[in-house]
């Protein structure tokens, strides 16, 4: 599978995951968004030596995976992508901070502890964002943004971009395939051909954009109106958000 097809497959797969019928999927998107933010704050405020905090957060992520019927392997695969930069940044701490310490009777250095902490934080933050997206369709996330008073205009651009990624990635894939077939033993474009290649893709994209713009105008599109799904927040949702914040704060105090 080439990377264009793989990318489209990944997007489609995430959409498939959002269609599952579980308690987590049925939660209000805004409740899940707040939980994701609380989780990230909890993670980032954990210090390097807060072992129990990290264990608790890892268990929580795995529990959510089971409740939402998201394969843990899938979650791991998606989150490992963000770790290389954290690893190299953490590696500098290993080199620059060689002071030995005993961490729960395990001989470590401060730098190594710091690197592990940075990588765990990155992993946990990526994991929770993935779980949020894998249990909430993008249209519902957009609805949550609108409830938070993110301008309709921007939310609409995000939704159109998302929908057109399929079309343009497919288009780019076809152009790339045609290029490769004409240039044996090459899997990447030559730099000198990038101008005409991307230029052509731009011209085609612009053509699509104008057609869509015209079609929207003819159907009476109003930029001041949001056409995506509208959601309303209920008392039980507010209660759930407050409860989550309270539990997180108590756990923070207990585990620190």
């Amino acid at each position: 599978m080439n990377k264009y097809a793989y990318s489209l497959f990944s997007l489609e797969h995430i959409e498939e995951l959002t269609k599952k019928d579980t308690t987590i999927h049925h939660l209000q998107p805004i409740v899940k968004l707040f939980f994701t933010v609380f989780f990230i704050i909890f993670t980032l405020t954990s210090t390097s030596y807060a072992l129990f905090s990290y264990l608790f957060l890892i268990c929580l992520v795995i529990l959510i995976c089971f409740l939402a019927k998201i394969p843990v392997r899938e979650m791991l695969k998606r989150t490992l992508i963000g770790l290389p930069f954290s690893f190299f940044l953490g590696l500098s701490n290993v080199i620059l901070m060689p002071t030995p310490i005993s961490f729960y009777n395990i001989p470590l250095t401060i730098g190594l502890l710091s690197m592990i902490s940075i990588m765990l934080k990155t992993f946990l933050c990526l994991a929770i964002v993935f779980l949020f997206v894998a249990t909430t369709p993008l249209e519902d996330i957009a609805g949550a943004f609108v409830m938070l008073h993110v301008p309709y205009f921007l939310v609409s651009i995000i939704l159109v971009t998302y929908r057109y990624i399929y079309l343009l990635v497919e288009e780019a894939g076809k152009m790339h395939q045609a290029y490769i077939l004409r240039h044996f033993k090459k899997d990447a474009l030559e730099m000198k051909h990038m101008g005409s290649f991307l230029g052509l893709l731009f011209v085609r994209s612009l053509h699509h954009a104008h057609l869509v713009d015209d079609a929207m105008s003819l159907r009476g599109y109003d930029p001041g109106h949001y056409y995506g799904p509208h959601q309303s927040i209920h008392a039980e949702d507010v209660f759930l958000i407050v409860l989550m914040a309270g539990v997180m704060i108590i756990l923070k105090v207990v585990l620190s």
């Binding site: 990944s10 989150t79 990624i165 713009d213």
Partner: protein, 332 residues
Amino acid sequence: MNFMMHMADGLISIPVGVIFYVVIGFLIAYAIKKCNTANLSHKVALMGVMGAFVFAGQMINFTIPGTGSSGHILGSIMLAMVLGQYPAFLSIVAVLVIQALLFGDGGLLALGCNIFNMGVLPLFVAYPLIVKPILNKFGINGKTLTIASILSCIVGIELGALSVSLQTLASHITALPFTTFIALMLPIHVVIGLVEGLITSAVVGFVNKYSPAIIEDALYMTNAVESKKASLIIGLSALVIAGGLSLFASSHPDGLEWSIASITGSTEIEEKNTTKKEIAKVQEQTSLLPDYAFKNNDSPLSGASAGIIGAGVVLVVAGGAGYMLSKKHRHE
């Protein structure tokens, strides 16, 4: 070259993330207002499809001659040159939101930082201060498009790399000194900026041959709704934010230093290795702005000034190079 500046949540602190959310919140509101002024608010599809174009464009890898490696475009400056500054900014915001949510490129808290580094700095600093003056003064042709593309891409990406360094250091994630971090980040990003500039110039050159009106419309639309004063204010604000971060970093030790303090009782680690001590001594003597501040000056304002100077130097050097090249081009 795929490691370009997407910051992950684990690499920034909460205050740094929040600061940049506030900054980009204002700039998004400003960009939407400008789009309304230019009567572009009905062009949602245009901006959305162009966002998807950048997304698709970023998937196309090209071989970098002589290195054996491959890279892809970032597209901010390219999009600004064919679509206009404000629509381009909103498209880039949409792309970064989708990348953060669906592809794990960058984090949710770090989204503000990523939009600032890859959207605000190229589009609110490099584009109005380099591309617009060159194209307005010398006209739109192959040479001016090439010069403007290369310079603005280098400046935009260098400022982004500088901002990544400042955000990471302000979050107290790494023990690397400011100067070392900068020395690691900036040279490689000059090369990335140069390659991005060459690709951008080739693409806008192609578009200009296909339909010159596209580039003209983008430039004049921006001219019509933008004032020099506004560009200058936003450019200077970016520098002030860089300085503000340094001020913040120097006054609130947390994260790594806090952990060290909890274990060793001090935020500093005593260095026993003599070679390292010697290297540190040489670095201390030669570095202009050691550890975010002026030599022998511990005041928080010294740190802030160092941040501003760091960002300013990149802008002045690249801007100066642009001016020299433009001058040479004018004489020719």
